[in-house]
């Protein structure tokens, strides 16, 4: 279990970092687009769509990464006192929470996979002039669901004391 927690954490860490770098690509696309449109009056067909979907895919896949760092917003008012008390109450609450969590993630995996497969079969395009195939975007959804599910499981194992918490390179973070 220790290995499971470690490797899921590693995977999500790297997915998250790769996703983070995509924002650099988005910035470059924007700068390129503004310059080409402004200076050469040559807007491209693909800029808007590509950066939108790039960002969408990156941040969907990064869900597990944010979960690894436990940065998803939760309501402390309710859960805080339980977490503080610990013991068997916290353990059962954590397991129940994981079940609730899985409902959503597994829905994304199962029905997202369905949607992606249909998209491949129909060779679905976005319908714009550039008309990129949509299946890579749709395939991200079940993949992101899977990453989240695995990370939630890993976090649960850590919370139950069945595996040590993975070492994170943490910096003082802030949220808006």
């Amino acid at each position: 279990m220790r290995h499971f927690v470690y490797w899921i954490g590693r995977t999500n860490e790297w997915v998250g970092r790769a996703a983070g770098l995509l924002i650099v690509a988005v910035v470059l696309i924007i700068v390129k687009e503004v310059v080409f449109r402004g200076a050469f009056n040559a807007p491209s067909l693909w800029a808007d769509e590509s950066m939108t979907y790039l960002a969408g895919m990156a941040y969907a896949l990064g869900g597990g990464y944010t979960l690894l760092h436990r940065k998803h917003v939760l309501v402390d008012l309710a859960y805080g006192p339980i977490a503080k008390r610990g013991g068997s109450l916290k353990r059962s609450v954590d397991i129940a929470g994981f079940v609730v969590f899985s409902i959503y993630c597994l829905t994304l995996v199962y029905f997202g996979w369905d949607m992606a497969v249909t998209s491949v079969q129909q060779a679905e395009g976005s319908g714009t002039l550039w008309n990129p195939p949509l299946w890579p975007v749709k395939l991200t959804i079940p993949l992101a669901g899977l990453l989240l599910f695995m990370q939630a499981l890993a976090n649960l194992l850590v919370d139950l004391g069945l595996a040590p918490a993975p070492a994170l390179h943490e910096r003082a973070g802030v949220t808006p």
């Binding site: 687009e33 859960y79 129940a96």
Partner: protein, 438 residues
């Protein structure tokens, strides 16, 4: 099953999921799945998934990480210290000068860095020890930092406005312009309050010693020099939105580029800083995307079950007139703000409240500014005022949570007053966006 019972059941399920420690993003998603299958059939789950796909293709959502990244790059380049030092040498001779400098710097920073935590943490590290050392009372020192930090929600480029624009379909550019004047009014009210206190009780807000601020005009101007480029970036971003020559996404992308250039020119650029700016942006943005995925699924299911329509009728049917309804909405926002984050409040209540208020004849942009005013209060209000937690993390150990929460009450009073001004004079928000070229 009738819609009112359904509404209560959904609410109960959501609260139960949140009590289990499930993050809001996934609690909303799971509740949507359960109720979707229960009310309709298993195919409803396709809707949950397709909501995710729709949002992944949302072009405005891309501007979120870009604005956050721009803020993070400027922050890593030490813009906050630069601004504070400049504001301090210029206002230090005033009584309560340090507290005034905090508020002025927060307002300036808000225009470059639309991220609340960053400002409060920096002020907690830079300004708070300075204030405590010079004998400022905790009430004025802590309160001014928390309240000043909150200004970032109102003064563009605020992430709250982008999220509001996405949820309600308003224009980001107009919302940004609408936030400026009320933001400045609020900052001015804080300054008046701080100065008022410093004249009534000089012992808790002394002026700076002469030798620190009498450094000659040239030296004072040198402090300002470092702010020129970052200021130009912020001004360029807002200007391009105001004139409409760039979309919010383009403006934000160019803003990132400008922030990097400003950091390089001011010799503050570092790869480590850049890296941590990207890492933090990724964490925050993933969180926001997933919140949108979940909330949009839940609101979608609730809408096809007839819930949104039901709540709208319920609200418009209240025998209290449109001002009464407006008051109720504000009270709900303030109450919710005490217990949950602005983003949860926005995603769950705005799809219902905003259309109702618009039907009653209120302007959606003005409602957005009003929402931000409410969220200012939520940042400070106990027991879960995020501003207080940020400050606690950065303050010396001698400062307790109790100290911080005691200090914010006068500032919450000022915020309520500013909310009143905004409601009484909608033009304070609306004249600037109305002068925009469309």
């Amino acid at each position: 099953m009738s819609v009112d019972i359904l509404t209560l059941l959904i609410l109960a399920a959501l609260v139960a999921a949140l009590m289990l420690g499930v993050p809001i993003a996934f609690a909303t998603g799971a509740v949507a799945c359960v109720f979707g299958v229960w009310l309709f059939d298993v195919n409803t789950l396709n809707l949950v998934v397709s909501r995710v796909f729709t949002l992944m293709g949302n072009q405005i959502l891309v501007s979120v990480p870009l604005f956050i990244l721009m803020a993070m790059v400027l922050e890593k380049a030490g813009i906050a210290e630069d601004i504070f030092n400049a504001a301090y040498v210029w206002s230090g001779r005033l009584r309560g000068g340090l507290a005034v400098a905090v508020i002025i710097s927060c307002a300036l920073m808000a225009a470059m860095v639309g991220v609340i935590g960053a400002e409060i943490v920096t002020m907690g590290v830079v300004a708070l020890p300075a204030m405590l050392k010079r004998g400022y009372g905790k009430s004025i020192a802590l309160g001014s930092i928390c309240a000043g930090g909150g200004l970032a929600t109102l003064i563009p480029p605020s992430v709250v406005f982008i999220m509001y624009a996405l949820t309600t379909g308003s224009s980001i550019g107009q919302l940004y312009m609408a936030g400026i004047v009320p933001g400045l009014i609020l900052a001015a009210m804080y300054i008046v309050y701080v100065m008022g206190v410093s004249y009534l009780k000089p012992e808790i807000a002394p002026a700076a010693p002469r030798e620190e601020t009498d450094i000659g005009l040239l030296a004072k101007l040198a402090y300002v020099k470092k702010l020129v480029l970052p200021g130009a970036v912020a001004f360029g971003v807002l200007g391009s939105l105001y004139t409409g020559i760039a979309t919010p996404t383009e403006a934000a992308g160019l803003g990132v580029m400008g922030a990097v250039i400003a950091a390089v020119v001011n010799r503050r650029f570092s790869w480590a800083g850049m890296r941590s700016a990207i890492v933090e942006t990724t964490k925050v943005t993933c969180m926001l995307y997933w919140l949108f995925f979940g909330a949009s699924a839940l609101v979608g299911i609730y809408t096809i079950a007839g819930g949104t329509e039901y709540l709208k009728e319920l609200m418009t049917g209240l025998p209290i007139g449109k001002w009464g309804i407006l008051l109720v909405v504000n009270l709900i926002w303030i109450a919710l703000g005490c217990i949950i984050d602005w983003i949860g409040i926005l995603l769950l209540t705005a799809p219902i409240f905003v259309p109702v208020l618009v039907t009653l004849g209120f302007d959606p942009v003005w409602i957005g500014v009003m929402f931000c005013m409410n969220m200012q209060i939520s940042y400070l209000s106990p027991p879960f005022g995020p501003a207080a937690f940020y400050l606690k993390g950065a303050a010396p150990p001698s400062i307790s949570m109790g100290d911080i929460f005691r200090s914010v009450w006068p500032f919450i009073g000022i915020q309520v007053l500013a909310l009143g001004v905004l409601i009484a004079f909608p033009q304070t928000a609306l004249w600037l966006p109305n002068t925009m070229l469309r």
